[in-house]
Amino acid sequence: MIRFVNVSKVYPTGNKALDNINLEIEAGSFTFLVGTTGSGKSTLIKLLYREELASSGDIWVFGKNIEHLSRNEVPTLRQQTGVVFQDFKLLPQKTVAENIAFALEILGVAKKEQEKRIHSVLELTHLQAMAKAYPRELSGGEQQRVSVARAIVNKPPVLLADEPTGNLDPDSSWEIMKLLTKIAKSGTTVVVSTHNKPLVDLLKRRVIKLDQGKIVEDNQGGGYNQHGTRR
């Protein structure tokens, strides 16, 4: 379970990105983060994998206050938090399987076990046929599936996705969103920021809307007020 308690974030430049956020996200749930550009979605996600520290307040992730992690504990948090971005962040000189294996290699997982886990995520993301391909040989949607596969291969309890469909066509976007909801069904807590209004409306999940760093809507049943959004 994730809990924000009076969390604010002011960047060193003086930009106030988050303003006294109080929020609870249940384990195994699927949550959309929406809001206009600059409303603080990426910042909220960055706080969750300790790319940024809050300026004040506490953030609890599965019973641990991640604001108080030492520098040595941050890698452990990240091993337990899958992250997916708009720009895929794949290594061009590694194959699909090697890119996914990367997350396991840093943990020193044995080759046999690696193969087993990679096989199962390739199956889940329908990438079996592309295991030996390089990222440049794949479509955007396929590359994003590789990125999701890498994020979940270590079976993290939390999966964060910051505009995962930002660079994708509608069909690929739909596929990625379906994949993410499927992952949530298996017990992973998934948080997705997006501008994709039609998909949010279609999927009918919890929607948290940010505006100027504040939560202005929290709709458990899906959908949100389109006013002021990009799409």
């Binding site: 960055k46 890698p75 452990t76």
Partner: protein, 314 residues
């Protein structure tokens, strides 16, 4: 998540493998780093070698400088030599040339001289040459001092001769060469270290995406650093070895040639100081590589974490 031993080994192996792969996959970058370092190390080694040989040459020349002592006829060379050998700074043995030997070597050089010195009636040869002593010194700069002491304390000395000016000049040249040489070496070392750090930093920057992804998937700092450290080590070793090959070649082929052409070049026997200098070059190479890469990655990792500075203490 406890780490067992084999897990740790696998992490190390993967990390090292990454380092090797990186080098092979960006051969241009590796080439730039290695050649920069090779040039730096080569120049450093060349400077040290030249310095060492120059010092040797000037030492050789100064050991050839001697005080020549002319004795009066009543003084025997043996007793004068014994007295001089007792003076501090004099290198024993003092070479003795008796009146007879002096005459003999002079008349051998100039056969006509004998007739001039011969008494036309008795055929007895008059010997005008004094007995001489050749005094070698441990320290050439003490020449004037020792010369004065010989004149003062050794009885029966007719006169002395010493090329003091040359000795002093050689001495000055020797210290000037050392001063300038070490100065250049120090400046060169610092300059090249800066270049090496920048070059490796370029290589690190080249892999910024990889470092970013490693951070994202939760790689610990040591895991991120290790491949770069290994690379730095290999770069250092490779450049050190290439620089040493060049140094050995320089010393064994062109320098020997030069020595044959210009006889004043006197090299130290055998390979001279090559072994200690090549060991030093290799060491400096390894140091530069490791230092350069760890400084570069350190800066990069710190840059990545700069976000943490935004934290306002509560």
């Amino acid at each position: 998540m406890a780490l067992d031993a084999s897990q740790m080994t696998r992490q190390w192996l993967f990390s090292l493998q990454q380092g090797l792969q990186n080098m092979v996959r960006s051969p241009f970058m590796s080439l730039v780093v290695v050649s920069t370092m090779t040039v730096a190390l080569g120049v450093l080694g060349f400077l040290m070698l030249t310095l060492s040989d120059l010092t040797y040459i000037s030492q050789q020349m100064s050991t050839q400088l001697k005080i020549v002592v002319f004795l009066q006829d009543q003084q025997t060379p043996e007793s004068a030599a014994a007295l001089i050998e007792g003076i501090k700074g004099v290198k024993a043995p003092v070479v003795q040339i008796s009146k007879e030997e002096a005459l003999k070597s002079m008349t051998e050089e100039l056969p006509d001289l004998k007739k001039l010195l011969e008494d036309p009636h008795t055929h007895e040869v008059h010997n005008p040459f004094p007995a001489t002593l050749e005094v070698s010194l441990y320290a050439v700069e003490k020449m004037a001092e020792i010369e004065a002491e010989i004149k003062k304390n050794v009885p029966g000395v007719e006169g002395t001769e010493a090329n003091q000016d040359l000795a002093e000049q050689l001495n000055q040249i020797q210290s000037a060469v050392q001063l300038v040489g070490f100065g250049i070496a120090a400046i060169l070392f610092l300059g090249t270290l800066a270049i090496v750090i920048n070059t490796i930093q370029l290589a690190v920057h080249h892999r910024q995406r990889e470092i970013e992804i490693m951070h994202l998937v939760g790689a610990p700092d040591w895991f991120i650093r290790l491949p770069f450290l290994l690379e730095g080590l290999i770069f250092g070793m490779a450049s050190g070895l290439v620089a040493n090959i060049l140094l050995f070649f320089w010393r064994v082929v062109p320098l020997e040639q030069l020595k044959r052409m210009f006889t004043f070049i006197q090299l130290q026997p055998g390979l001279g100081p090559l072994y200690p200098i090549s060991a030093l070059v290799l060491l400096v190479g390894l140091l530069m590589g490791v230092l350069g890469s760890s400084l570069s990655v350190h800066r990069y990792i710190r840059f990545e974490k700069s976000a943490e500075k935004g934290k306002i203490p509560v």
